[in-house]
C-alpha cells in the first residue's frame, strides 16, 4: 500500500483551492480584459484626403454604388411629391399636422388603486383627407388579461374600461357596424357619425376607469408612489407620410404621439404631493403657505431649496386641507405630446433652477425650474443630488442644442419598473442607483426632453431617432460632468461586442420586431450613439452638432421621418452621405479595416496597403508616429471602397524617425477588430 499523507495533501489543496477561488471570483478585471481605451479625440482638422488606388486590378464585382444607395421609400417619395416633405430635410411648404386639445379630470382612489377619468378631446383635422374613423390609443389595455404583450407585466388586472364614448355630445355604443367604437388590443377605432372633413374639428368625450397597474412597465404604483402614465385615451397620430399609425402597444417599443394642449385636473387625497407635466394653475388652493414661500425662494434662483422636508409633509403643512379629505390640482401644458403625473404622500420636494440661455423671444438669459420628488429612503440612492444633477443636464443640453423650452423639469422617484422613463417635462426613475449612475440616467432621460419630446419622431418604428440621440447626448453630459468618464467608449464597446458576437440587428426595424431585448438595445441605443460619433469623424464634430441643431430646429413640435434627419445632415454637411446611412442604419455590415502591408518607398514615404475585411465602407484614418512623438496623418476617403475593392494602397509621408503606423488610433470608428490596425503588429 502506498503511504498516505492526507493532512499535508488537504492543507496544500485547501491553500491552492482558496487562492484559485479568490482569483476566479476577483471583482477587478485583469488589465488585458478591460484595460483603458482611449477616448475619441476632440475634433481635429481633417487630414488631407489621399490619392488611393486598388492594390491590384480588381475583377468586376456585383457590388457597385447601387449597393450603397438608400432603399426606395415610396410613402416618403409620395410625401415629397405632395409637398409635405423635401429632399433637403426641411418640412415641405404643404406640411400639415393634426392637433388636439384635451380637457380632462381624473380622481385617484388610493384604496382600490383605481383611477376614474372623464374628458373631452377637440380634434382638428388639418390634413387634406376626410377621416371617417378616428383611432384612439388606449395604452392602459396593455394590462388587460387578453392583451398581446412582448414584455412581461407583474399582473394583468384589467385595462381601460370605457363607460362613455360620445361624439359631439352623442353617445356611441360599442358596435362593429355603423357609428360606434371597437377596441382591439390597445387601439380603439371610433367610427364617426359623420366623416371629419379637411379643416374641420370634432369633439370627442370619454369617461373611463382603470386599475393602476402594480409596477407596470413605465409607470404604475408600488403602494407608496403612483406614476400615472398612459392613463387616458389619446388620439393616435395621423401623419402626412403613413396616415394613421396604429401599431399596437405591446410593451417593448415605445410611442408615437401627436402634439396638443392639455388642461388637466387631478384629485388626490389631501397631503399628497402631485408632480405633473405642465404648469400648476392653482397653487394657492393646494400648496401650503410655507410650501409656496419656499418655492418662491427656489424660483429666485441659484440655490437648492428643500420645498417639502420630512417634517413638512401632510395636509395643512405641505398641502392645504381639502374638502372631504381631497384636493384637486390643475395643470395646463401647451404643445406637448402627453401628460403624466405622479403622486405620493411620502414625497420630499427639492427645487432649484437651471440656466437655459435666451429663449422665447427674450433678450435676457432665462432659467427653468427644476423639481425633484423622492421618498426619504431614496437618499441612499443619491436622490439628494437629483435636482442639481437635473439642472446640470438641462444647462448642458440647452447650451449644445437649443434652450430648454418648458417651464420646469421634474424628476420623480417611482416604481422600480420606471427604470428611467421620459415624459414631457418629467422623468420617472425607479430602482436602486448610486449618485453616479443617477446622474447618468437623469442625463439620458433629460436628453429625451429634446428627442422625442420636442422633435416628435416615431419611437415605435424608429427607436434610434430618440433613444440613439439620448444615448449620444447622455455621453456629452456625462463627460462634461465627469471628465474621466468614457461613456462614448462604453457605447462603442457594447456595439462592437454585439458585432463580434454576431448578435447585431439593423437599426431600421420596428421596435417590437427585434429578436430579443438585447438586440433592441444595441440597435436603438448603443449603435446609433456610436454611429453619430463616427459621423463626427467624417464631417467634423462642429458640423455634426450644427446638423443636429438644424434638424431639431426644423422639426421641433413636428413629426420627422428618418429621411428628414438624413436629408438635413446631407444638406448641412454639403455631402451626399447616403452611403453612410445605408451602411449603418439599414445594414449590419461590419467595419474591419486592417493594415495588410507596409513598404518603404523612400526615406520619408511609405506605401501602405489597407484591407477592408468587413463590408462597411468607411474612410481610413491613418496616423504615422515617430520615435520623438511627431505624427503625420492621412484620410483615405470612403469612396475607394464603393466599387467593391477589398484592398487599397496609399502613399503616405511619415516622420523621419517613423516607428509605427495605425488606423484610427482615437477609435472614432467602431472597428470590430483592433488587433490588425497597427504596423508593426503589437
Amino acid at each position: 500500500m502506498p503511504e498516505h499523507r492526507p493532512v499535508t495533501l488537504y492543507r496544500t489543496g485547501l491553500a491552492l483551492w482558496c487562492s484559485l477561488l479568490a482569483a476566479a471570483c476577483s471583482t477587478q478585471p485583469s488589465s488585458s480584459i478591460a484595460g483603458p481605451v482611449p477616448r475619441p479625440a476632440p475634433a481635429a482638422a481633417p487630414p488631407k484626403p489621399a490619392e488611393a488606388k486598388p492594390a491590384q486590378p480588381q475583377a468586376p464585382r456585383a457590388e457597385s454604388m447601387r449597393a450603397f444607395a438608400l432603399p426606395v421609400w415610396g410613402a416618403f417619395d409620395s410625401a415629397v411629391a405632395r409637398g409635405t416633405r423635401t429632399r433637403t430635410g426641411e418640412p415641405g411648404p404643404a406640411y400639415w399636422q393634426q392637433r388636439a386639445e384635451y380637457h380632462m379630470e381624473a380622481e385617484l382612489n388610493q384604496v382600490s388603486k383605481r383611477l376614474n377619468g372623464h374628458g373631452t378631446v377637440t380634434y382638428h383635422n388639418n390634413s387634406p383627407d376626410t377621416l371617417p374613423t378616428i383611432y384612439i390609443q388606449a395604452y392602459g389595455n396593455l394590462f388587460a388579461p387578453e392583451a398581446k404583450r412582448n414584455t412581461p407585466v407583474l399582473a394583468a388586472l384589467g385595462g381601460i374600461i370605457f363607460t362613455k364614448v360620445a361624439v359631439e355630445g352623442r353617445s356611441l355604443d360599442s358596435s362593429a357596424f355603423g357609428a360606434g367604437w371597437t377596441v382591439s388590443g390597445t387601439i380603439m377605432a371610433l367610427r364617426l357619425p359623420k366623416p371629419l372633413l379637411p379643416g374641420a374639428s370634432v369633439e370627442l368625450e370619454f369617461a373611463w376607469n382603470l386599475r393602476i397597474p402594480p409596477d407596470g412597465p413605465r409607470g404604475g404604483q408600488d403602494r407608496e408612489t403612483y406614476v400615472l402614465s398612459y392613463w387616458y385615451p389619446q388620439v393616435a397620430v395621423y401623419d402626412d407620410v403613413n396616415g394613421w399609425q396604429i401599431d399596437p402597444y405591446l410593451g417593448n417599443a415605445e410611442f408615437y404621439m401627436g402634439y396638443g394642449d392639455y388642461d388637466v385636473a387631478v384629485t388626490v387625497p389631501e397631503g399628497w404631493l402631485v408632480a405633473s407635466t405642465g404648469t400648476l394653475q392653482n397653487p394657492d388652493e393646494v400648496l401650503g403657505d410655507s410650501t409656496r414661500a419656499r418655492l418662491a425662494r427656489a424660483r429666485a434662483g441659484g440655490v437648492l431649496v428643500g420645498v417639502v422636508g420630512e417634517g413638512d409633509r401632510g395636509a395643512g403643512k405641505a398641502t392645504m386641507k381639502g374638502k372631504n379629505g381631497k384636493l384637486t390640482w390643475r395643470f395646463k401644458a401647451e404643445n406637448v405630446r402627453d401628460v403624466t403625473w405622479a403622486t405620493s404622500n411620502l414625497y420630499l420636494w427639492d427645487a432649484t433652477t437651471a440656466p437655459v440661455g435666451i429663449r422665447g423671444g427674450s433678450s435676457m438669459p432665462d432659467t427653468t425650474m427644476i423639481y425633484s420628488f423622492y421618498r426619504p429612503d431614496q437618499r441612499r440612492s443619491g436622490w439628494g443630488e437629483s435636482a442639481p444633477y437635473a439642472a446640470r443636464s438641462i444647462a448642458i443640453f440647452s447650451r449644445v442644442l437649443w434652450p430648454y423650452p418648458y417651464p420646469h423639469m421634474t424628476v420623480v422617484d417611482g416604481p422600480a419598473s420606471c427604470g428611467g422613463m421620459e415624459y414631457p417635462m418629467m422623468t420617472c426613475i425607479g430602482g436602486d442607483w448610486t449618485e453616479r449612475s443617477l446622474f447618468d440616467v437623469e442625463a439620458h432621460e433629460i436628453a429625451h426632453m429634446w428627442f422625442p419630446m420636442q422633435v416628435g419622431s416615431d419611437e415605435k418604428r424608429y427607436a434610434w431617432m430618440d433613444e440613439g440621440m439620448a444615448q449620444y447626448f447622455q455621453s456629452v453630459a456625462i463627460e462634461a460632468q465627469f471628465p474621466d468618464a468614457d461613456d462614448v467608449g462604453e457605447n462603442r464597446r457594447n456595439y462592437v461586442g454585439a458585432v463580434r458576437y454576431g448578435k447585431e440587428t439593423e437599426m431600421m426595424r420596428n421596435g417590437d420586431k427585434y429578436p430579443d431585448y438585447n438586440a433592441y438595445g444595441i440597435a436603438s441605443y448603443f449603435k446609433p450613439a456610436t454611429v453619430l460619433v463616427a459621423l463626427g469623424g467624417i464631417i467634423g464634430d462642429s458640423t455634426l452638432m450644427r446638423g443636429l441643431r438644424e434638424y431639431g430646429t426644423r422639426w421641433s413640435g413636428r413629426h420627422p421621418m428618418p429621411s428628414d434627419f438624413w436629408n438635413t445632415m446631407n444638406t448641412v454637411s454639403g455631402q451626399d452621405l447616403d452611403w453612410f446611412w445605408r451602411t449603418w442604419y439599414y445594414e449590419t455590415w461590419k467595419l474591419d479595416q486592417a493594415i495588410d502591408d507596409v513598404v518603404r518607398a523612400n526615406e520619408d514615404t511609405l506605401v501602405i496597403t489597407v484591407e477592408n475585411k468587413g463590408r462597411a465602407p468607411m474612410p481610413v484614418l491613418l496616423v504615422a508616429r515617430g520615435a520623438r512623438g511627431s505624427t503625420t496623418s492621412l484620410m483615405v476617403p470612403a469612396d475607394v471602397w464603393f466599387q467593391g475593392e477589398k484592398k487599397v494602397s496609399v502613399r503616405m509621408a511619415v516622420p523621419d524617425d517613423f516607428t509605427r503606423v495605425e488606423i484610427d488610433p482615437a477609435q472614432r470608428f467602431p472597428d470590430a477588430d483592433r488587433s490588425n490596425q497597427a504596423w508593426p503588429r503589437r
Binding site: M1, P2, H4, L9, G13, L16, W17, L20, L21, A23, A24, C25, S26, P29, I33, A34, R218, E254, G419, G420, M421, E422, I429, V441, H444, E445, E467, Q471, Q474, E490, R493, N494, G497, A498, R500, Y501, Y517, N518, Y520, G521, I522, Y525, F526
Partner: protein, 69 residues
C-alpha cells in the same frame, strides 16, 4: 427609456461565472485524480471525467466571452 442593462457588464459577469466554474471543476478533477492515484484505485478516477468535461466546457465558454469583452 433608460438604456438596457450594460451589455458589457453582463458579458463580464458571465465570463467570470464560466471562469470560476472551469477553475473549480478542474481543481476538483485534479484532486480526485490525485486521490485515485494515491489509493491506486482507478475506479475513483472515473469521477474526474464529468468534472474535466465541465471544466473544459467552462474554459471554452469563458474564452469565447473574453474575446468580446
Amino acid at each position: 427609456m433608460a438604456p438596457p442593462v450594460n451589455a458589457g457588464a453582463q458579458r463580464l459577469r458571465l465570463y467570470r461565472l464560466w471562469r470560476t466554474a472551469a477553475v473549480l471543476c478542474a481543481l476538483g478533477a485534479v484532486e480526485i485524480g490525485v486521490l485515485a492515484w494515491q489509493r491506486q484505485r482507478p475506479v475513483i478516477a472515473l469521477a474526474c471525467l464529468p468534472l474535466a468535461a465541465l471544466a473544459a466546457y467552462g474554459a471554452r465558454r469563458a474564452s469565447a466571452l473574453r474575446q468580446v469583452l
